[in-house]
Amino acid sequence: MSKVLMKGNEALGEAAIRAGCVHFFGYPITPQTEIPEYLCKRLPEVGGVFVQAESEVAAIHMVYGAAGAGVKCMTSSSSPGISLMAEGMSYIAACELPCVVINMMRAGPGLGGILPAQSDYFQATRGHGHGDYQCLVLAPASVQEAVDLMTLAFDLAEKYRNPVMVCADGMIGQMMEPVEFRAEGRGPAMAENDWALTGCEGRPRRIVNSLHLAPEKNFAQNVRLKEKYDRAARDEVRFEVYGDERPDLLLVAFGTMARICKSAIDDARREGRRVGLFRPITLNPWPYAPCRAIMDAMPEGAKVLDVEMSMGQMVYDVKLAAEGSRKIEFYGLAGGLVPSPDQVAERIRALLP
């Protein structure tokens, strides 16, 4: 298939359809509004359903209902809107229903600003809503990767019966890059299963419910969810390694920030410095072991620098990966400011004089 030049948000919308999603519920917010805008035109063309809900709270609960009925469904929003969805996400995870949520992150906290940020990292990777649940979280660094990860997101959602979040910064949404859709047309529907509420005539009733007043029953649910997240941690970690394999300085970054780091690393390597990049693609499960393996192979005295568009959130996962074996440096800008390649290169030179 040939490549087309597309804005990230629109490409994500098309990718959802190619992945088989034909039910979208959402509410507009910059910088992701082109996703619902695109889907409200495209979904009726493929026999799908588009609903602009009255709020993000309503949208996520419409997703809850559609997922319970066993259809591939999704919503998308940006930071403040994702906060509003926290309650529904917890219920969807508790009921073990599959869905995809896109967070095109903007600057916060509060209403913040509409410029790109990565400040929802804690929110995305640490449960988001209440209770012992997790989202699986995917972080694309290009429009093409965003498209490819949408297919993976729907597959993982169905495989693990759990919400999957595609977490990108506003730049991915607003940027145009060439993309190739690897699948043609509308993707496959949800596979036959034993949990969806499809009408019980001729079969035993199924119940979707998250209320378990007996603590033993609730605990059993907690344990089942935990086993699921452990399984995902074993089988689903994804990451990219770039630059020197045994670097004197390892940068860790995700999303667009990782690409900015690549340019800075290219500069530093041209100057003779040995620098590498570790880029988690799954933010949850986080690729602790592969990151640690690189740290362990680095020369003695080698350094690690975590770079984010936040005040320092993923840096705690890098520290967990290091388990105290190395000091982890941090550099970040937030509020809608994005560290430039030159600013990152300056940090690299300061750490590797």
């Binding site: 509409i114 940027m175 780091c261 994005v338």
Partner: protein, 185 residues
């Protein structure tokens, strides 16, 4: 070709984002890697807008660029803001219609074009954005002009085909001005 980044800036409504998209489309059609990263924010008509287009044979690392290889400045605020950031040896295309002052860089190639006059002569004052793109392509030979003309025409294939001729002619006028390499005195 060498990897190239172009910062295109002007007032909102002057069409620099659209001209950038045509550049990206043309480069993609030539088999190159491209990225098109707009400034986005609480913008309004008459405010400033800019886009960074990266073109490369290899995958593009950062779509955000600290030192662009070229600046296309459609108005004075764009020149004031971005002139210093252009990489040494780069190209600066200035819209002489709106920018009276000389460019302060003596280590860059500076091309001044009267974008409005050339666009008017081509048939539409609103095509000044493509005069600027033409001047850049003419000055650098970054892409075959044919590829850019096709990309420009494709922007109007949605019921607005009557605008194709003027916009392509404006681009050609820009190419001519750019390749004449009217370096600032």
């Amino acid at each position: 070709m060498k990897a190239t980044s172009v910062l295109m800036a002007g007032f909102g409504g002057q069409g620099m984002l659209l001209a950038g998209k045509a550049l990206a489309q043309a480069a993609m059609a030539e088999g190159l890697q491209v990225s098109w990263l707009p400034s986005y924010g609480p913008e309004m008509r008459g405010g400033t807008a800019n886009v960074i287009v990266c073109v490369s044979k290899d995958p593009i690392a950062s779509p955000l660029v600290s030192r662009p290889d070229a600046l296309l400045a459609m108005n004075l605020p764009s020149l004031d803001r971005f002139e210093a950031s252009v990489a040494p040896g780069g190209t600066i295309v200035v819209n002489a219609t709106l920018v009276a002052r000389a460019c302060a860089r003596d280590d860059c190639r500076v091309v001044r074009v009267d974008a409005r006059a050339l666009a008017q002569a081509a048939g539409s004052e609103r095509a000044a954005n493509f005069v600027m793109l033409g001047a850049y392509v003419g000055a650098t030979a970054l892409l075959p002009t044919r590829a850019a003309e096709t990309a420009i025409a494709d922007e109007f294939r949605d019921g607005r085909e009557r605008h194709i001729a003027a916009n392509v002619l404006a681009f050609r006028a820009g190419v001519e001005a750019g390749s004449a390499n009217e370096v600032q005195a």
